[in-house]
Symmetry: C2
Subunit: 322 residues, 2 copies
DNA sequence: ATCCTGCGGTCAGAATCTGACCGCAATGGG
DNA sequence: CCCATTGCGGTCAGATTCTGACCGCAGGAT
């Protein structure tokens, strides 16, 4: 076959690697004539990837952002970095892109060479948890990817599931959709043995194995998968609205209260109102302690008890340590 | 020009989108004959991207992981997810891949359509900080990207720099290398006005503007950039070795002490030894409180005072709130 | 003005591409 | 075993595309 396709991809890769290239540099690199390079640049433009050109002494070609994404040509380390970053994003820490993250991750891991996969797994130790301090179990990225790929490919999978009461079962399912809700992943699927719909928490799921058998999608008895999950899980997920008056100026708290953690509103030059939400009063109590300032809890009232308990424990621990 | 390159990229995209495709499906999608699809599959194989084929009733083609990464064909949301994930990874939270993350980010953001860039920026609010609780300033991803691209393209940049004492200056530099050290990004560069090498902290740098003027790389007066940074910054960066005996079984602490946070070693069925390192005793004190158990500090001794102070503050704050 | 860059048309000769046709091989189900 | 459905790869004729060389033009910096 012709070398044109291969060369176009190499050209695209070069243009992504450094921003500015002269036609003669590209021609030398790709071992074709400058006229052919000019044609290749036109080919890229025809594909929808704008290449800006400037003539003259400091002239050359420059790949620019266009209306759509070109293919990404990545080296090994870049691919690993993307995989690790996506594992974080898929962990539910960034609302709004978790499903796209899983999709991208399924795509990337499908083609990731095994030596790079080993490197990603070696770095897995360092994957930051879903949120800091919520103390919840973390999702195994491999399980998440396996399920995502099965959903995508309409392929049955089997896995081991550990229920809330500790009971372990093996399941064979037709995965319908992954749903991220309340920072957790749920799998909505058809349970083949029980011949009914089921919802599983992905963090409780291990040993995911694709069966290699395809299925025809079924119609879910709900408007959509997210609604189905929301109806299935009991509302044990409580979220506290927290308001605390901090005895400090807003400027002194800069860098400690980040916008994703809570909203800081200046009362006067000596105090601020902090508003946040959270599902662990234990954690919130410790976090408030970290600011290094006195504070006054406005709501919820039950937080006061947690702060009191924490204070007592720390007092006891400090005297034990002295 | 021919449609072959375009079609190959579309084929690659389809193969990345779903795992299994029959030849006739692909032929219909791409509006060519099945014989042409077979040729295109061979073209992908010649490019180094293995496509597995199975004949028979459930047969078809499947793109597999090979020795190298193929180009990644991404949709809009996938690109945004990758950008957000990479911003996290470039933030220094994952040791070992931060430089590759920045490189990948520079590459991605070069071609990211502006409407997607706006979405990434809108999601920036939710980007998780470098580490949880170290209280340090966060790096502006746009500044990091701008600098990374300037290093890559050998292009002068100017920026505003706010030094430790609060003094603000404008700088024109030839960026040499970005170095990640101690979870911070440093820029090693040649200061054009001062005609000398300088090291800048990226989190103190704003208003990065490429000058459009290229420079020839200079030889750095050090073995490498990392060594140069290490020699340049004063050792105000202290890292504490922490050892604490926790009065709890290892099983009860599962989920609270993660491997990246510290190492948990069982003493007996009622206590564990926790080892970790950190640069903020304030934070470590609060973190220890969060476990919900009594503890005994073995080292460092100065941590005891921090715990005592925290306890006092929490005690005062709880009674103010009651 | 000179030099260095990009630009795009034209040409001849070579190379490649396509669909159609063919016979073969592998797989699963009846 | 037979049948249907899948992948495979060679061959052919006709059409299309590709390449380097050559040319004259345009833009930008010095």
């Amino acid at each position: 076959m012709s070398d044109t396709t291969s060369r176009i991809l190499r050209l695209l890769s070069l243009l992504q690697t450094h921003r500015d290239w002269s036609g003669s540099e590209l021609a030398g690199r790709l071992e074709v004539s400058p006229r052919t390079i000019r044609r290749d640049i036109d080919r890229l433009r025809d594909l929808g990837y704008p290449v800006h050109a400037s003539a003259g002494v400091a002239g050359g070609y420059r790949l620019q952002a266009g209306a759509s994404m070109p293919p990404l040509l990545l080296d090994d380390e870049e691919a690993v970095a993307i995989a690790v970053g996506l594992r974080f994003a898929a962990g539910g820490s960034v609302a709004g892109i978790d499903e796209a993250s899983v999709r991208a991750l399924a795509k990337l891991e499908q083609v990731l060479p095994s030596r790079l996969r080993r490197r990603v797994n070696a770095l897995q130790t360092y994957t930051v948890p879903m949120t800091y301090g919520d103390g919840g179990p973390t999702v195994d990225p491999d399980a998440l990817i396996c399920i995502a790929q099965a959903c995508r490919d309409l392929e049955r999978v089997q896995f081991d599931y550990k229920a809330k009461d500790g009971a372990e079962t093996q399941r064979l399912v037709e995965p319908h959709r992954l749903v991220s809700l309340g920072r957790r992943w749920y799998l909505v699927c058809w349970d083949v043995d029980r011949r009914d719909w089921r919802t599983f928490r992905v963090d409780r799921l291990t040993g995911c194995l694709p069966e290699g058998v395809h299925f025809h999608p079924r119609e879910l008895p709900a408007e959509d998968a997210a609604a189905y999950v929301a109806a299935s899980i009991s509302s044990t997920y409580t979220r506290y609205q927290v308001e605390v008056k901090l005895h400090s100026s807003k400027a002194d708290l800069r860098g400690k209260v980040r916008s994703q953690d809570g909203q800081l509103e200046e009362i006067d030059n000596k105090s601020c109102l902090l508003r946040t939400t959270g599902d662990s009063l234990e954690w919130i109590a410790a976090w408030l302690g970290w600011f290094g300032v006195e504070f006054e809890i406005i709501q919820p009232p039950e937080l006061i008890e947690y702060v009191r308990d924490l204070a007592a424990r720390l007092t006891g621990s400090a005297s034990t340590s002295a």
